[in-house]
């Protein structure tokens, strides 16, 4: 089982993370952005699992659980915000919500 080198696992995590990142940067649709953030979180979790498995320690998995928890909370709040924004602005364009513009 440990035949898979850690580098490969981490590389996979890195690629997934990068894909999520690209998506966050190019998307305007706020739901897509949320999805992309999920991808990134998932990638981060993957990295923890890989490391945990490499060292045969439970800590990596525990971290993944925390990330999972956080992702859940984040998605719920994020979706509520999306609903609110859609309600107020009648659009899902994240650029429209630029009231904090300096």
């Amino acid at each position: 089982m440990s035949a898979i080198p850690m580098e490969t696992g981490l590389l996979l995590a890195g690629v997934l993370f990068m894909l999520g990142l690209i998506s966050v940067m190019i998307r305007r649709n706020i739901i897509f952005m949320l999805i992309s953030v999920e991808i990134m979180l998932n990638a981060a979790g993957l990295a923890f699992i890989v490391a945990g498995s490499h060292w045969a320690q439970p800590d990596g998995q525990i971290m993944f659980i925390f990330i999972l928890t956080m992702a859940a909370a984040e998605v719920s709040v994020g979706l509520a915000l999306i609903l609110q924004i859609h309600h107020q602005l009648k659009t899902l364009n994240s650029d429209a919500a630029n009231f904090m513009k300096g």
Binding site: M25, R27, M33, S94, D95, A97, N98, K101, G102
Partner: protein, 628 residues
């Protein structure tokens, strides 16, 4: 009797206070009663004290009213000091002041600010009395500045005219320049003696300093600065001609009794210090000589009757400085007294004329007044004779002759100073009688309105008598040899030591002075009465007119100071109105704000940009950590 000393200055102050507080609510008669009465009583007290002093002959009377303050040994008192020198000054101030006050009741009768006028006049007299009676230099300084304030208030009395306000401020500020020098002198005196008590300083000075001591010279020069400012001498004389903006009694008061003579008093009072500083003495004499000439020439070209008199005051005070400068203390003070009489007389006469001619001051529009205003004419003539030092019968002759004589005969005398004085005397008689001829002879050019009544004529007559007879209390050695005045002052002011060789020539010099004086009168007669065409021929010459303009403007001192001090200061001040130091702080604030704005443009509100920013940041950090 000495206990009454404090009353002399206190009465005018009390009068001023009453008039300030209640002046607008009481009748004019009562205002006059308070205004004139307070100075009158003060004069009466002076008389009583003077008689007391003459009979008992103490060295001085000192009365401490209260301790002003006391800080670490610096403890001036509100204390008055009466000795022969101050008696002469108090006498002139209160009596001439009293006469001027009486005169003012008629002169100012129409003015709506009657009470304010008398309040200021009382304050003026009071301050001057404090000045001459002060026991220490700080109290003297109080009177000194008080006089400055009152001159400001009175010169600018008709405040609606901006020019008057300008003249008033000019007077105050220029004299303040002198006062500043004097204040520094006081600091130095205090540093040296640990006190400003005049008697202590006079007593200790000779022990502390040798003749020509550097500190003494500097102090003497600084005090001279103060004196020059108040007395309208070179280089601070420019305020005095402009001071004519005030009502005429004010001019009389400034020129005859108060203010202008303060410088003479200061030098005479501090003569011990000056004697230890020969350079400063020389400076006093030279300033006097130059001033008397410059002012004399300027007076020649004026048309405003009051300006002529103003320049003549500068010139006459120059004579006093000349006398003081050669150590002829009592001669200087004597001339002060006589000058006080005849200058008050001349100003009051001029005032009567101005009042009669509906506030016309230009002599070219006067003329032929000798018939219309006979009292004024005769009294003016006496005053003019005294000013021009008409031989034998005028008081001015004796006082001025004494000064001229001592220029040669005194041990510090100098032939050049003498010649300057002589030339000055010549010019004096020319411009004086130019004034007489222009004003009183020739055809009448302006209708005579107001005829003077008792309140004007009585002071005129009294002053005329004094200007005529005042000289007989001090006559030359070879001519009566009356020395009442110098004897009186002898305990305070040392007599000048005369070089004995000269005594035999004294009558020649007197004759010369008489001839000069008469010659001046004759020239005036020739030019301004007999053959006016001579003047016109002079006026045709380009050069003469240029000189005329130059002299008329008071030798261009006003323009000089304007370019040197006033305009640069005003310019600098205007340019910097919004305070360049503030702009430094504004710059800091603005640049902070600028940077802030710069950074706030990065806050686009577009989330993708922020993410990109994070990525860029991460890349940078990783790159840097890799490179290091």
């Amino acid at each position: 009797m000495g206990e009454l000393l404090w009353l002399i200055p206190a009465l005018p102050f009390a009068g001023a206070l009453l008039l300030v507080l209640f002046g607008n609510r009481i009748s004019r008669a009562l205002v006059s009663a308070i205004g004139v009465g307070s100075v009158g009583i003060s004069a009466a007290v002076t008389l009583v004290l003077g008689i007391e002093y003459l009979t008992s002959r103490p060295a001085f009377i000192r009365q401490e009213v209260w301790q002003w303050f006391d800080v670490a040994g610096f403890s001036p008192a509100i204390a008055f000091h009466l000795d022969a020198l101050s008696i002469v000054f108090i006498f002139v101030i209160t009596f001439v002041g009293f006469l001027i006050h009486i005169y003012s009741t008629e002169y100012m009768a129409e003015d709506k600010d009657y009470a304010r006028f008398f309040a200021c006049m009382n304050l003026f007299v009071g301050s001057m009395l404090v000045l001459v009676m002060a026991d220490n230099l700080l109290l003297l300084y109080l009177g000194w500045e008080g006089v400055g304030l009152c001159s400001y208030l009175l010169i600018g009395f008709w405040y609606k005219e901006p020019a008057n306000g300008y003249a008033a401020r000019k007077a105050f500020i220029i004299t303040r320049v002198g006062d500043t020098a004097m204040a520094i002198g006081l600091f130095m005196l205090f540093q040296t003696f640990g006190t400003l008590h005049i008697q202590s300083i006079s007593m200790e000075a000779a022990q502390v300093w040798t003749i020509g001591n550097e500190t003494a010279v500097i102090i003497a020069f600084l005090l001279l600065g103060g004196a020059v400012g108040k007395s309208g001498q070179l280089p601070l004389q420019t305020w005095l001609p402009d001071a004519m903006a005030g009502p005429t009694p004010v001019s009389a008061l400034i020129h005859a009794a108060t203010m202008v003579t303060a410088g003479v008093y200061l030098i005479a009072r501090m003569h011990v210090v000056f004697e230890l500083a020969p350079a400063a003495m020389m400076a006093v004499a030279v300033i006097g000589a130059i001033t008397l000439l410059i002012a004399g020439f300027a007076a020649l070209t004026q048309y405003d009757i009051k300006r002529v008199l103003a320049y003549s005051t500068i010139s006459q005070v120059g004579y006093m400085f000349l006398a003081l400068g050669v150590g002829a203390w009592s001669a200087g003070v004597f001339h002060f007294m006589i000058h006080g009489f005849f200058k008050a007389l001349l100003f009051l006469c001029a005032g009567a004329i101005i009042l009669a001619l509906h506030h016309e001051q230009d002599m070219r529009k006067m003329g032929g007044l000798s018939k219309k205003l006979p009292v004024v004419f005769y009294t003016f003539l006496i005053g003019a004779a005294s000013l021009a030092a008409f031989p034998l019968v005028s008081a001015g002759f004796y006082s001025k002759d004494q000064i001229l004589w001592l220029q040669l005969a005194g041990e510090n005398g100098n032939i050049w100073l003498y010649l300057a004085g002589l030339l000055g005397a010549f010019i004096t008689s020319i411009y004086t009688f130019r004034m007489v001829f222009l004003t009183f002879y020739g055809e009448e050019k302006t209708h005579v309105g107001h005829k003077p009544t008792m309140a004007i004529t009585v002071p005129l007559i009294i002053l005329a008598v004094l200007s005529f007879a005042g000289g007989f209390i001090e006559l030359p050695h070879n001519f009566g040899h009356v020395v009442l005045f110098s004897d009186f002052l002898a305990p305070i002011l040392p007599a000048v030591s005369v070089v004995p060789d000269f005594t035999q020539y004294e009558w020649m010099l007197q004759l010369l002075a008489a001839v000069i004086s008469l010659g001046g009168i004759f020239i005036a007669y020739l030019f301004y009465y007999k053959k006016p065409e001579l003047i016109e021929s002079i006026h045709r010459s380009e050069l003469a007119m240029a000189i005329h303009r130059f002299w008329h403007s008071g030798w261009g001192f006003d323009q000089l100071y304007d370019t040197l001090f006033v305009r640069p200061y005003v310019y600098l001040s205007r340019v910097n109105k919004s305070d360049f130091i503030d702009s430094i702080y504004t710059f800091i604030a603005n640049s902070t704000q600028g940077v802030h704005q710069l950074f706030s443009t990065t806050q686009t509100g577009v989330m993708r940009n922020y993410v990109a920013g994070i990525v860029v940041g991460a890349i940078m950090i990783i790159t840097i950590s890799l490179l290091l």
